[in-house]
Symmetry: C2
Subunit: 448 residues, 2 copies
């Protein structure tokens, strides 16, 4: 397609202005799914509601399933009730459950009642699992095989029932009581002799319990390079699969959240340019307020040392440099450990190893920066002040790296999102403790 | 497998201490690929070299391909030369090129000379593309179809040549001159009537030029929910595919980099707990030094206002609170925009829209925090100081949000990684400008 997304958006706006519904319908019908999604994310919500209704029915479902959570629920509430019912019926069960979680509970309840018995039977059990668990994000539609089925028969089964399943790239093998015996990939089937029973082809693939964390299951899927993860109940009975596609969606949400929280904000859950200003404010202001209120601690610390400050005003000049360096060192450690936790490279019980590592890293960097600070401050001001700055840098770096490394592990241990503790809180904490260290050293060396 | 990773690591250490090579070989042969990778990442590099050599030959290649970049090159250099040659010959071309990029150039050159002609012919063209381009990360091994081939014949072709190809989930269709005509997925083939020509099955899938960015191609793969992206040369001739698996590896590296840089450090490119302390120091100290040196700016700013500080020491008490709030507001904006850039939701040319959004967000939050600051400082100290603090908070938040939103876009425009500008630099910049604003307002209101 030679047209760029910008051309499409421009053309759509022109046609909307001219109210040329026929031309708009043709344009919408000609778009690839991805372009339709991106274009609709770019326009405002009123235009989105109009344009979405012009999509061919089959495309509409696929496009809808690709939107971010907030856009889905917003759009859903703006549609006419008969469109809503048809759309809801045609969604994949996993997308349906996600949508239900976003909708106001009275609407969600009404939608479930309007569902066909078959779709309700697929959806209702998923709602029994906790939010954040894989049971709520899996797909209950898959192609199930028996172990004595041959490769050729299995390919036939895929041909017959495939289009209804969420993925045919991973096919679970069970006995008659749905107990999981193994899995076979479509690639295994396609490259096997046609008479080989699938039981002989089965390869090792990740299996998770339905109540496990969806994020952990999604990482497992990628880590094992598997097209899907099989989901079982407490009795090892097959109840669904979590596809690579859904896994990538889950991980992207998790990374959105981590990235936003590392920057001291909540994730937007929709594209930036189509988020209203007040929603952006809402995603940030609580954090900013909490951080500002905890920064009042630094005012109180400085008040304690006001006499020293009044005696040697020069001490004030270094406050932002010292607190900044402490904050930076703390963030570095916290970011590294948070990422290692997310990837499973580090677990809360490794705290001793992490602390031992970070103390040494912090002390090494502190020694380097401290020496530099000693020389520069010594040359420009005097050597006593140089000693204060140098020693403070050494202490602050060691302290900040250790605290920064420990915080995410402690957060994880007590069940708080480690990303919350990575950058902003560490900075505030390091500011306050760093100031105490600074003035204690200054008092000792300068005798103020 | 009932054993946990910890059990495996403990058992391995015991056997290593007893030098029981036979038992170690049995243990290594019984591990799944994923467990072998995780265990070997956990032990130190000397143990890793010993244990890796005990892996069955076929497993060794698969395990090797899963390691992080730094571990690969370290391990590679520690192996005996005949093991090295066999391993290098058996790597997939994309993994081989990645390894070559990590190795010292004399070793890399020697390895290329030792390669068989067939493998060299696959590898050499990839080395002609820039680092960071998809041409260097794609796989040149795939199953290519002609458009008049039937679905059944295509499945036969997959059965015959599949095991050699990197992925059989996406099959490119070309004419005799290798010009790309379309693609067909294995799922499409498996669910089609066996006599249907593949030319009629072909669906729309992403195509990229070999010199495009690997990260952009990888995102495209996920965005289109495609099992692979097709890579062509400037004349639309097929030269490779970038699989979903490789895409996820590329995106994980990019996210490692973004996460590390947002925290003011370079990515480690290996698991945290197996990284030597000095490597961690190296990944952080340059950044910390640059940030500390640029923070000397804040010392100089404060020197200019030293008289005001000496006259009203109370002004010093609020320095960390004000610079901290400015830094936090700036980071929030920078993090959001950096993430939006990475996801393609925002482009550098959207700068006007971003600035207009961030000015309003910053001013709104500044007004809220400023009112609070005015009241608290007014009640505790006096209303003149309250006015200074309130007005400064309003100004700093507006300024910081605007600058924080603009910086990543400017960075991208001039070809620098936007993540570099997200947290740490914004903080330092906001510290310095925030202090200037603070003391200018203080001078005006308090007349010092």
């Amino acid at each position: 397609m030679p047209e760029t997304l910008d051309d499409i958006v421009t053309r759509t706006s022109e046609l909307l202005a001219e109210r040329d519904v026929a031309a708009l319908s043709t344009l919408m019908a000609g778009l690839s799914t991805t372009n339709a999604v991106r274009m609709l994310e770019r326009v405002d919500s009123a235009q989105r509601a109009v344009l979405f209704r012009l999509l061919p029915k089959d495309d509409a479902v696929v496009v809808f399933e690709r939107f971010d959570a907030t856009i889905r629920s917003e759009l859903f509430e703006s549609l006419r009730s008969d469109d809503v019912i048809a759309l809801f019926e045609n969604l994949d069960p996993d997308d349906r459950v996600e949508l239900l979680d976003e909708l106001p509970s009275n609407i969600a309840h009404r939608m479930m009642l309007g569902l066909s018995p078959a779709q309700r039977a697929l959806t209702a059990p998923m709602l029994g699992y906790d939010r954040g668990s894989v049971g709520r994000r899996m797909s209950p539609e898959y192609v199930r095989l028996r172990s004595d089925t041959t490769a050729a028969e299995a390919l036939d089964a895929v041909r017959r029932t495939g289009p209804d399943a969420e993925s045919v790239y991973l096919l679970p093998i069970t006995d008659d009581r749905r107990t999981l015996l193994g899995v076979v990939t479509l690639a295994d089937l396609a490259t096997a002799e046609s008479t080989t029973p699938v039981g002989e082809l089965h390869s090792s693939h990740p299996v998770v319990r339905a109540d496990s964390s969806a994020e952990v299951a999604a990482r497992l899927c990628f880590e094992h390079r598997s097209p899907a993860v099989v989901v079982v109940d407490s009795e090892q009975r097959l109840i669904g699969i979590l596809t690579l596609e859904q896994s990538s969606r889950i991980l992207e949400e998790a990374e959105d959240e981590d990235a936003a929280r590392a920057g001291g904000a909540e994730p937007l859950r929709r594209p930036y340019l189509s988020t209203p200003v007040l929603s952006i404010v809402r995603s940030r202001v609580v954090w900013l307020l909490v951080l500002a209120l905890s920064a009042i601690l630094t005012v109180q610390v400085l008040e304690i040392f006001e006499h020293a400050l009044a005696a040697v005003v020069t001490l004030a000049l270094f406050i932002p440099l010292l607190t900044g360096t402490g904050g930076n060192t703390g963030s570095q450690a916290a970011t590294t450990v948070t990422r290692a936790l997310a990837l499973g490279d580090v677990r809360p019980r490794d705290i001793a190893a992490v602390l031992f590592r970070e103390v040494r890293v912090g002390a090494t960097m502190g020694a380097m920066l401290g020496t530099l600070g000693f020389v520069i401050a010594g040359l420009v001001y005097d050597w006593h002040l140089g000693l204060v700055i140098g020693t403070t840098l050494l202490s602050i770096c060691t302290l900040a790296a250790t605290v920064g490394g420990a915080m995410p592990l402690i957060a994880k241990k007590i069940g708080v999102d480690p990303a919350v503790f990575s950058t902003p809180f560490i900075s505030t904490f390091c500011d306050a403790t760093g100031l105490i260290v600074y003035f204690l050293i200054a008092k000792a060396v300068l005798g103020v």
